[in-house]
Symmetry: C2
């Protein structure tokens, strides 16, 4: 059996994670048992939710165990199979973790899914046509449920979730305004992703200033918002929300590394009769087929051209992850194994 | 025509309102035109929302005009009628304002409603079997939508909305825990209103302390919360909310008089996948008949014994209103005209 380089979490970060929280080790892959499949990973995914799992505290999922392979999404190829529905050479997406190979109990529903890479590059099944894309779909369709002509906003617009949100919203005839950090990202959001406008939140030192910029970008107010970040952007958006608007809360990345960030004016939930709802995409498996079909069609047809930041080599995964938490990535962050 | 003493708002309060914001004047009642009805008020309602209307700022309703009769709910008797569906002696509820008589265009739907006072004292149509009761019903039934056996909480539990919420929740087989200020109010909430427990928020100086007390009162966590106040109670409740819980936001009284009060940890909306939704009962007219029927039956049968604080005389309305904003009332605050 092949050697399997892998990254373990060996200590829990307090605040920002650092290299000594992780350890690269190499183990043998075990022999396959009946109904198991051996997958060689081509790409692994890095996502903000991983920081939350590194804490040993109440969250929506169990903490990442210490001295075990870091969890995470992977795409790759079946290199050995003892399951009748998977053949050597099949391209598959799963939760293989931060390692080179994974042994998968392929009989367990949802652990491994075959993908068609004839029109969509395989790495996109970790992003636009994967978990981040379905996340955007669920928030847009199930929580915001917009009408054509309405104005929607999304934070972290150049990221994997935000860019998919924009493509899905434009496909429904909405005006879409993004938030991103820096001119390069904002230009990309407007020129390549087709958003109607993008606001550089780094140009604003407080939410009132940001909210003024938002007034120009959203002359008819905001009917729905998709929140990936929290903090200043959310405060600014809430001031501009129209009556009966909806806010889908998918991420609070700014709070992961330290103290909770308060919501400045929650009374706007009453004043504007808002619905603010949190969700986790993995709890809505029924949405995945419909969402993936739409996302695959948008990417396959070239209407949605998702961007990626690719780190090379498993050993560089921690460094790439630190960059992701600081917003250094541009589009979906993956690691080429 | 009779003389009509009435109270006008003559200047807008900044912070707490004071007596010089109001003026008691007496005008003649005009002669009735066709389809109009003259109502002599027996009671008028005082409600926290009135403070918000005194501001000349964005809110969910137009500001109270200056030098005009203060808005507000009233119950009374028809003393003259030029409308075929209303007869002298009919008991009616309407929005007559802070005055002794009102002339109502009785043809306009929703302005005037006849009530049956044979089993329910007339003043309760301003409280338990009126707008506050329907407010509790909408938040409970339309937003929280609880199952029997679930745990629900409500702030300002001894007030008009909170006490109705408790009665409606108990009727659905829920565990109900209230918040109130002071031992007298808490005893009343448990012993007379039939709540399972009541927490005196005045015994706690911060939301973490309050949240510990809540843990004892809600050993299975909280599935739904009805928010009348905001601030510390909401922060404490959010820490104890179960996954997929709902929070109906009906009031943020603590913020009316000054700066907005932040929500300390909005990331719990994501962590616990909460739905937080604001609403205004007047925007849901379709709910009123069903809600009033249930509330009338609860009060008429004696299962729900709402309490009132009665101020005597129109001239004392401003002082009673100041007390209401400070929580000095006990149950529904009304003024006997």
């Amino acid at each position: 059996m092949p050697q399997n380089p892998q990254i373990h979490l060996v200590s829990r970060p307090t605040g920002e994670p650092s290299a000594d929280n992780f350890k690269l080790i190499t183990l043998d892959t075990p022999a396959l048992q009946d109904k198991q499949v051996l997958v060689k990973h081509e790409y692994m995914s890095l996502d903000p939710y991983m920081r939350g799992r590194m804490n040993d505290s109440k969250s929506y999922t169990a903490p990442q165990p210490l001295n075990a392979v870091m969890v995470g999404g992977t795409v790759g190829e079946v290199v050995e199979s003892r399951h009748p529905q998977f053949a050597v050479g099949d391209k598959v997406v799963g939760m293989g973790g931060w390692q080179t190979y994974s042994v998968v109990d392929a009989d367990t529903p949802g652990l491994l899914r075959k993908v068609d890479t004839s029109h969509v590059p395989i790495s996109h099944f970790l992003g636009a046509v994967g978990m981040p894309g379905v996340t955007a779909w669920h928030g847009l369709v199930r929580i915001i449920n917009p009408q054509a002509g309405q104005t929607l906003t999304v934070s972290a617009a150049s990221g994997a979730v935000g860019s998919a949100f924009g493509a899905l919203a434009k496909a429904r005839g909405c005006r879409v305004v993004g938030f991103a950090g820096g001119k390069d990202k904002c230009d990309y959001v407007v020129n390549e992703l087709g958003f109607d406008a993008c606001i550089d939140y780094k140009e604003h030192s407080d939410y009132l200033s940001l909210s003024k910029a938002l007034k120009d970008a959203c002359p008819n107010g905001i009917d729905g918002h998709f929140e990936n970040v929290g903090g200043m952007v959310l405060d600014a958006v809430m001031l501009r929300m129209n009556e009966f608007g909806s806010i889908a809360v998918c991420g609070m990345i700014a709070g992961y590394n330290g103290k909770p960030i308060p919501m400045t004016n929650p009374s706007l939930i009453l004043m504007s009769r808002l619905k603010v709802q949190g969700f986790i995409v993995s709890e809505h498996p029924a949405d995945w087929p419909e969402a993936l079909k739409e996302l695959g069609a948008l990417v396959g047809s070239g209407k949605f051209k998702p961007r990626e930041t690719v780190a090379h080599g498993l050993a560089n995964a921690p460094e790439a992850f630190f960059g992701l938490l600081k917003g250094k990535n541009f589009g979906k962050q993956v690691v080429k194994i």
